[in-house]
């Protein structure tokens, strides 16, 4: 068994597709009309056959209170791995992305949290190479 797809609720699927492709740099994988909504997925160009991220419509009444409560406490709903968190922070900030947590050393890794403008907080993580090496033993 492996993780093939995971999902995030987004306020507006078209706006979310623009943010996830044009700003973050993911590639569109599936864009299938389903009534008023779409089966809309993106993948990382670094792993085109890897897990897909489904940008799921946030219309269900349970979604808003759920996401608002998590956003208030700063809890991210997904984590993306990057090689250079300072470079990503600079690149995304220059594109107007708002971070609720700047790159922060948490010991085994550096993490940062940004607002995806679609209703979610997303965490970036850069693992420290020494720690990876240590874990392998």
């Amino acid at each position: 068994m492996k993780i093939a797809l995971t999902s995030l609720f987004v306020d507006d699927q078209r706006a979310a597709l623009a943010f996830y492709t044009e700003v973050l740099g993911f590639n569109k994988r599936h864009d299938i009309p389903l009534g008023d909504d779409f089966w809309l997925t993106v993948v990382s160009p670094e792993s085109p056959d890897g897990p897909e991220l489904l940008l799921e419509p946030a219309g269900h009444p349970a979604v808003k209170p759920y996401r608002d409560a998590l956003a208030e406490d700063g809890i991210p709903l997904a984590q993306f791995a990057v090689d250079d968190i300072e470079a990503e922070h600079a690149r995304l900030t220059s594109k107007g992305v708002v971070f609720t947590q700047p790159p922060t050393d948490i010991g085994t890794a550096f993490v940062a949290v940004f607002d995806d403008t679609c209703g979610n907080l997303i965490q970036l993580i850069e693992m420290k190479p020494d720690e990876n090496h240590a874990d392998a033993h």
Binding site: D68, A71, E72, D73, G74, I75, P76, V98, T100, Q101, T104, I106, G107, T108, V111, V113, D115, L121
Partner: protein, 94 residues
């Protein structure tokens, strides 16, 4: 002022103030992860939220909502009341 002493009489709350004075404006999630990763404290989010409540009622922590998130800031002013009551003048030996 009694609230200030009660708020400071706890190692977790002192660590929260340490972390906020090192970097102000943190979310609850960030405070939780820093306490866990840097200080090995495996407290529940509810417990840390309660500690923040004690610090806030003592005036040592203030919160601000920005966008949809809530950020915590260290306010050192209540500590000045302590040094105002017991000033720490350097004793000169002359």
């Amino acid at each position: 002022m009694v609230d200030v002493f009660r708020a400071l009489d706890d190692e977790t709350r002192r660590l929260v103030l340490d972390e906020l004075s090192a970097r102000d404006g943190q979310t609850l999630f960030e405070i939780c992860s820093v306490l866990a990763m840097r200080h090995g404290l495996s407290l529940t989010r509810q417990a840390i939220s309660q500690h923040l409540g004690v610090l806030e009622s003592a005036g040592l922590v203030e919160t601000e909502r920005r966008g949809r998130s809530k950020f915590h800031y260290f306010n050192p002013e209540p500590l000045a009341e302590i040094t105002g009551r017991w000033p720490t003048r350097k004793r000169t030996e002359q």
